[in-house]
């Protein structure tokens, strides 16, 4: 009987142990597995630690959502949400790493729209683990970050010549803008007696304009002008200019201004005022296409201002030129749709004007614009393509086509203005279109990449040049890479006869 009882106990024990094993096994197999088939380790929710819960940014800038996530069960996904920012991103950790991770360093960059107008956003960061447990945290994004240095929208030329007069003076003029708020400005001109460094309070405005007549000693000397603009977040921009006080120098460069105001002189990326040709000591020749009867022009040795030197008609003797911006009268071009050639001598103050017709003007263009004469393979015309050229930033098949002026066949322009952002460095040439990206046809390159003034013809092969055009390549293989100071829409106008182009801000 005892033996029987013992056997019964052993049987019960065996059944219990067996049941326990089966239960454990089934629990191990099925009980605590998540949807992905990964077993739980501690069954706890993930831990999310954001590096910051507030990011200051600005339109057009990027933010980075950073943090550290840990979960012993395994992180399966991270979700970033902000409907106002059109942000709805799921980082599927298992898909990327082919397994869940115990720790994950969140580092997600997001670009704010350039035209974003909202002031703040809340990004919800949610982390899921393999057991579909989640934890969320909000991150505040405000649009009050300051990232831009102040910008000089108008500033003195790097080198300014001031002529010795009875009262030798220099108009210091500049304009500054900032994306947030300007704090103060410092003006330093060492060497001028009585001119102490000047600190001007910008009062938190985002624009500041300054003009002051500075009296200089009547002796030949150079002065270094330094203007420093500082914004509220301490970001600075500095402009330096060398003022040379002298008798009339033999200027290396001379410009033609066909605008009336200083603002218009500085409303371009390049091309205004227009560079003219120096033909000898103190002698210059300006070729200019007059589109409108009565156009008034001046000649300037500096580009940003009509002072301190401006060559115009002497009010007391129209046959002479004066260099005084305050008294100089404009030279008025009476005829429209004609080319003018003006020669002058700055030392003798003499000048001469003559005209020539559009037909008399020649340009280097090898084919009739818009005709189908472009010899694709250069083999005599087995395949002819349409010939045209324009603004090109990448390759000949991506040329933005110029429109040829209806009146002046040498004049071309882009039909649509170019939208350009402040701070953008451009990179382009004027080139003919070619479907197969051939480069050795007619093209115009510039004299100076960062400050283009001359768009010289660069047709390497004579057969791609109008035979009447005898001017050699004279600027080198330079792409135009000027920097845009002011955001806006710009119109590109190009004269193939003059080899000049200008990019002027317009209201679209």
């Amino acid at each position: 009987m005892k033996k029987k009882t013992s056997f019964k106990k052993r049987k019960i024990l065996f059944v219990l142990l067996g049941s326990l094993f089966v239960l454990s096994l089934s629990a191990w197999i099925t009980g605590c597995k998540d949807d992905h088939g990964y077993p739980d380790v501690d069954g706890l929710s993930p831990v999310l630690t954001l590096k910051s819960d507030h990011i200051q940014t600005a339109a057009g800038r990027s933010i980075t959502i950073e943090g550290v996530i840990s979960d012993k069960d395994g992180i399966s996904a991270i979700k970033l949400e902000c409907p106002e920012l059109n942000l709805d991103k799921t980082i599927d950790v298992i898909e990327i790493y082919e397994k869940p991770l115990e720790t994950y360093e969140l580092n997600y960059k997001f670009n704010m729209k350039r035209d974003e107008i909202r002031e703040s956003f809340t990004i919800k960061v949610t982390v899921f683990d393999v057991g579909n447990r989640s934890v969320s945290q909000d991150m505040l994004v405000t649009m009050d970050g300051d990232f831009e240095n102040p910008i000089f929208t108008l500033s003195p030329d790097k080198n300014v010549t001031v002529l010795i007069k009875s009262e030798t003076k220099f108009n210091l003029r500049f304009s500054i803008s900032d994306d947030r708020a300007l704090d103060y400005l410092m003006i330093e001109i060492p060497g001028i007696e009585g001119f102490e460094p000047l600190r001007l309070d910008a009062k938190g405005e985002n624009k500041f304009e300054f003009m002051q007549k500075i009296i200089l000693p009547n002796k030949a000397q150079e002065y270094n002008v330094t203007v420093t603009a500082t914004d509220k977040s301490g970001k600075q921009s500095i402009v330096k200019s060398v003022i040379s006080v002298s008798e009339m120098p033999d200027f290396e460069k001379m410009y033609l201004a066909d605008v009336a105001t200083t603002e218009e002189l500085n409303n371009d990326v390049f091309g205004v005022p227009m560079r003219i040709e120096r033909t000898g000591a103190y002698q210059y020749k300006a070729n200019y296409y007059c589109q409108k009867a009565g156009t008034e022009i001046f000649f300037l040795p500096q580009k940003s201002d009509f002072s301190p030197i401006c060559f115009g008609l002497d009010p007391e003797d129209n046959s002479k030129l004066t260099d005084d911006p305050e008294s100089a009268k404009p030279i008025v071009l009476e005829q429209a749709n004609i080319y003018y050639e003006i020669t002058f001598d700055t030392r003798k103050s003499t000048y001469n004007i003559k005209t020539y017709s559009i037909a008399e003007a020649i340009d280097p263009i090898p084919h009739k614009y818009g005709s189908t004469n472009l010899d694709t393979w250069g083999d005599g015309g087995s395949w002819l393509q349409e010939f045209y050229f324009g603004y090109m930033t990448s390759k000949p098949s991506q040329v933005q086509r110029f429109t040829q002026d209806n009146t002046n066949s040498h004049l071309f322009y882009l039909e649509e203005p170019l939208p350009l952002e402040a701070g953008t460095q451009m990179n382009f040439v004027i080139h003919n279109w070619h479907s197969d990206n051939w480069w050795n046809y007619c093209t115009w390159r510039v004299d100076n990449s960062t400050d283009p003034e001359i768009f010289g013809y660069y047709g390497k092969d004579a057969k791609y040049t109008n035979p009447a055009w005898t001017k050699p390549d004279h600027v080198g293989d330079n792409w135009a890479k000027p920097t845009v100071n002011v955001t806006g829409n710009y119109k590109l106008i190009f004269d193939a006869h003059l080899e000049r182009a200008k990019l002027v801000r317009v209201t679209k």
Binding site: K89, Y108, T372, G381
Partner: protein, 1011 residues
């Protein structure tokens, strides 16, 4: 007069009454002499009939004395017996099993079907002629297991034929042998009506006897021979028309909207040329301008055959013409064939086959693409006031895109050829002693082709012009001959041992002679001046001779014991001029065996199987489809620019690098199969599994630059690659008769996987141009011709989805993407979309091929239906790009409603964009890949044999057929079948739909008249 008519009527009635007799007799089985119960006896061509009783007796009244009785019964072979005024006709029916005793042509001989040990399929001539096609292979589609036939539309288009997949990149066409004479890889020249039967040698144990050229399989074609007896005449014709579906392109108003929307969506001003708000009434339907609604197809065949005990003959005359769907483009051929055989005595027999032919064709232009893409707002012609004398210049230039005016292109199309050819095939057969046959045959295949072309001078626009007209003439001559000598000895000893031995020697030569001349600037485009002599400048001439030779020694032994155990072995040694000394000869052995279980005693008592045979075979076959000059290093003219003042000088340089180590490409193949005949031979089943593997595959390998040859791309033929095809085939055929209805149903299923084990070792072989990229990647170790590109993962529906398409760190993957653009998968999650994100996106080779054939006869009515389909194959549908209007191209009608225009409007066709900065249409992606599975009704035919006799044994049958009547498919392109032909038949560049000539729908009326 009335009396005379009455008398005549009485006389006719009397005559009629006299002619009607009652025929009776007994029908017995040839196997056991037992009566056949329920056998059907009918008067051919009428409804008059009866069946046999329990004793096999029958009696049939009202039978004309010159009628033909048809005796048939399930499990027995039908017989037709002329009454010839007899009143008693006893018939012995042979069991259907005896069909197994029909002779099957094998290489250099023929054997009983029951003795076959290898995989050979037979197609009878009548199965071929039931379809009206220019190339007999088109008629094989779905009828032979393991043979993938892909038809192309357009007159004279050669179908692509693959037998059991692909093991080479060097021309995968099978070898065609007509009456023992190898004729190359195209049988366009052959009149389908001349074919008695086609045997497809599918495995190496069958094809090894063709050694060097058997690796792609061999198709043996036997033409019709005469039969002793009275002359029998046969005339048949089929006449009909072909149609193509209009692809339904957008009309002018939708085109204008799409054109402008592409610019506006990209914030650009549309560069639209022409009036705004154009109406559909002003639209030009370019498809209808250049593609005719119907194209004529016609086929006529006349045949007479007969002979005596000494001489038998078969004379045929055929004419076939197929017009293209354009105003120009056709192909016609006139074939004559006279096959004769004269038996001198029991020892000597001689035959002579002669088959002259004339083929003519105008090249068919390919204007489907331009007809679809042409600007529908452009009129066909310029305004009349601008017309000039040169009519080719009066066509209008496309206003809004660069497509050449298709009507102008069609008018200028002028290229035609004529070919004269003859096949001569005399032979002499001696039987010096019993069972020994000696045969010598000398075949010649000669043809000459003249091709003329003229390209007129015209000026539509500077971008659509030809400054100088141009004319050319090319003459080509082919002269191939082969001499075949065989000795065949068969003997049966000790009753049960059957032996058949064959020895042979063959010599072959294939030669091609070519000359071409061209000139430019003929004074004008006048037809009368279209002679090369009339050209005044740019005179060019060229010519060449090319030939290769082959000498072979062959042997085969076939043995069977008691018709139960079969063993076949063959050995062929080939020497080819295409290979250098030391490697000229290759040896190709094969071995196959079969076991016919139904001949065993243990199967005697069962009735389920009337035939059951298991067979297996192994063999090696070769491939020599390389240039004749492959082992030679060649020089040719080349230009170079020298000097400070660069000038072009003409010199000589190495143009191709020879390999003096070349040898055969060899394919090793094994096959296991089973043949079954069940249920009183009503059902036949054949199943095979096989594997073919090529070794030493000939392939042009990139030469190493260090060798210093001037051409850096100089490639050299090498025995370097290897490919493998493995698959299975299942054939099911059911024959039965229910009352007056006899029918047969056949299903052929097959599948094959083609794998490249190795190409050249130079890396993947990329084929299929697409926007400076390649569609297809052939990689060592993978299946061939697969599409390789980006995965299009639907369209971005909103900016939120665009923003979310980043890597885990927020790096934008498609920086130019906007809502409505395609989302491409960044497979490696690196935030950059580049080559590393490409993957396999499609396979053009099907997983399954299906042929389904039905035949039905009811009294005088017969019905045929053939279906063919492929399943699991993909197509890279370039024509899907027509939704994008790229380059100002016209678009499919309804594009505006199909493209993405806002959230939820489409997840397939992207937004319209002129810049396409996201490269929706320029990337090789799964956007273009569609399932190309289809099932096509290849033939639907109903025929009626007139019950009237016109005297003697005349028979007139009328039929109506529809070919390619309908296709069941989800594919959106014009034809799911056509892309499988690939680029010029290339097996590693197939499955791309570039809008080639689709297979037309064809309707035909047919007449068959026998007398």
């Amino acid at each position: 007069m009335k009396k005379q008519i009455l008398l005549l009527c009485f006389a006719l009635i009397s005559l009629y009454t006299q002619a009607q007799i009652t025929v009776k007799g007994v029908v017995t089985s040839a196997t056991d002499n037992e009566p056949v119960i329920g056998a059907t006896i009918i008067v051919k061509g009428s409804g008059n009939g009866t069946i046999t009783d329990l004793n096999g007796n029958y009696a049939l009244s009202n039978v004309s004395g010159d009628a033909i009785l048809v005796f048939s019964s399930i499990g027995f072979k039908s017989q037709e017996i002329p009454v010839s005024n007899r009143t008693t006709i006893d018939v012995i029916l042979k069991e259907a099993n005896e069909l197994l005793d029909e002779l099957v042509v094998i290489g250099y001989g023929a054997v009983k079907r029951s003795d076959l040990t290898s995989s050979i399929s037979t197609v009878k001539g009548e199965q071929i002629t039931e379809v009206t096609v220019g190339n007999a292979m088109d008629a094989l589609q779905g009828k032979v297991n393991g043979v993938q036939v892909t038809s192309g539309g357009g007159p004279g288009t050669q179908p692509k034929v693959l037998i059991r997949g692909v093991t080479t990149v060097n021309n995968s066409d099978p070898l065609y042998v007509v009456d023992g004479m190898p004729v190359g890889t195209n049988i366009n020249f052959l009149n389908s009506s001349d074919i008695e039967s086609m045997e497809v040698l599918k495995d190496a144990s069958a094809a090894a006897i063709y050694g060097t050229r058997g690796s792609n399989g061999v198709i043996l074609i036997t033409t019709k021979k005469g039969v002793s007896g009275e002359a029998r005449f046969n005339f048949s014709s089929s006449l009909g028309f072909q149609t193509l579906s209009n692809p339904n392109m957008a009309k002018a108003s939708e085109y204008e909207q799409v054109f402008k929307a592409r610019y506006i969506n990209d914030d650009r001003t549309p560069m639209w040329k022409g009036n705004d708000n154009i109406t559909d009434a002003e639209s030009i339907d370019w498809w209808n301008q250049v593609v005719n609604k119907t194209a004529l197809i016609q086929n006529y065949a006349f045949n007479v055959s007969g002979g005596s005990d000494k001489l038998i003959y078969n004379l045929s005359l055929g004419y076939f013409r197929n017009n293209s769907q354009y105003d120009v483009g056709y192909w016609d051929k006139i074939n004559v064939r006279l096959n004769t055989e004269y038996t001198f005595n029991r020892y000597v027999k001689m035959g002579f086959d002669i088959a002259p032919r004339v083929e003519s064709w105008d090249d068919t232009p390919n204007l489907f693409s331009s007809a679809m893409g042409m600007d529908p707002t452009t009129p066909v012609f310029k305004p009349e006031e601008e017309w000039v004398d040169n009519g080719y210049s009066n066509y209008e230039r496309s206003r809004n895109n660069q497509t050449h005016n298709p009507a102008g292109s069609l008018a200028r199309q002028n290229a035609h050829s004529r070919e004269y050819g003859v096949i001569l095939n005399p032979y002499l057969q001696l039987t010096p002693i019993e069972n020994l046959t000696l045969r010598t045959q000398f075949g010649a295949n000669a043809h000459i082709r003249r091709s003329d072309s003229f390209a007129p001078q015209f000026f539509i626009d500077a971008l659509e012009q030809k400054a100088l007209n141009e004319i050319s003439r090319e003459m080509k001559e082919w002269l191939d001959w082969n001499w075949t000598n065989t000795a065949n000895y068969r003997i049966t000893f000790a009753d049960k041992h059957n032996l058949n031995a064959m020895l042979g020697f063959t010599a072959e030569r294939f030669a091609e002679y070519q000359i071409k001349a061209s000139r430019e600037k003929i004074p004008n485009n006048s037809e009368i001046l279209r002679e090369v002599n009339a050209g005044t400048q740019n005179q060019k001439g060229e010519g060449k001779t090319s030939y290769n030779t082959l000498v072979s020694y062959l042997s085969r032994i076939m043995y069977n014991y008691d018709n139960r155990y079969y063993l076949t072995a063959s050995l062929r040694a080939d020497g080819s001029s295409k290979f250098p000394k030391g490697n000229k000869y290759g040896i190709f052995p094969s071995l196959s065996a079969a076991w016919r279980l139904t001949s065993e005693s243990f199967m005697e008592d069962q009735e389920f199987f009337s035939n059951l045979k298991i067979r297996g075979g192994w063999g090696r076959v070769g491939n020599q489809n390389i240039e004749n000059s492959a082992p030679l290093t060649l020089l040719s003219q080349s230009d170079y620019v020298f000097g400070l003042t660069p000038a072009r000088v003409t010199g000589t340089s190495i143009s191709s690098v020879g390999n003096t180590m070349l040898k055969w490409e060899t394919v090793e193949d094994w096959n296991i199969g089973v043949d079954m005949s069940l249920l009183n031979a009503r059902m036949d089943v054949t199943f095979d599994i096989y594997q073919k593997k090529s070794m030493d595959m000939l392939y042009k390998k990139q030469n190493i630059y260090a060798v210093g040859y001037p051409d850096w791309n100089s490639q050299i033929w090498m025995n370097i690659g290897s490919m493998k095809a493995s698959g299975w085939e299942l054939g099911l055929n059911w024959n039965d008769k229910v009352s007056d209805i006899s029918y047969n149903v056949g299903v052929n299923l097959s599948a094959v996987k083609n794998k490249a084990i190795k190409f050249s070792g130079d890396g993947a072989v990329l084929t299929g141009e697409f926007n400076q990229d390649k569609i297809i990647r052939n990689e060592d170790g993978g299946e061939i011709s697969r599409f390789y590109g980006y995965i299009a993962d639907g369209l971005f529906q909103n900016q939120r989805e665009v923003n979310a398409h980043t890597d885990e760190h927020g790096t934008i993957i498609q920086e130019h993407a906007k809502p409505g653009d395609i989302r491409f998968k960044d497979l490696n999650h690196d935030g950059v979309l580049n080559e590393k994100d490409k993957t396999w996106i499609g396979n053009p080779y099907p997983d399954l091929m299906l042929g389904f054939n039905v035949g039905l006869n009811y009294k005088n009515i017969d019905f045929r239906a053939n279906f063919y389909g492929t399943f699991g194959n993909d197509i890279f549908n370039k024509s899907k790009g027509l939704y994008g209007g790229t380059g100002g191209s016209n678009v499919y009608a309804g594009t505006l409603s199909k493209v993405w225009t806002g959230e939820g409007t489409s997840n397939d066709i992207p937004r319209l964009s002129v810049n396409d900065m996201n490269q929706n249409y320029t990337r090789v992606s799964s956007f273009y890949v569609e399932d190309g599975s289809y099932m096509r009704c290849k033939l639907l035919q109903i025929g009626y044999t007139l019950p009237y006799k016109f005297g003697g044994n005349t028979e007139l049958r009328l039929s109506f057929s529809a070919q390619n009547l309908f296709t069941i498919t989800g594919y959106s392109g014009m034809d799911p079948e056509r892309p499988q032909i690939g680029n010029d038949g290339s097996v590693i560049e197939t499955g791309i739909d570039g809008i080639a000539y689709p297979n037309p729908r064809t309707f035909l009326l047919g007449i068959d008249f026998k007398f």
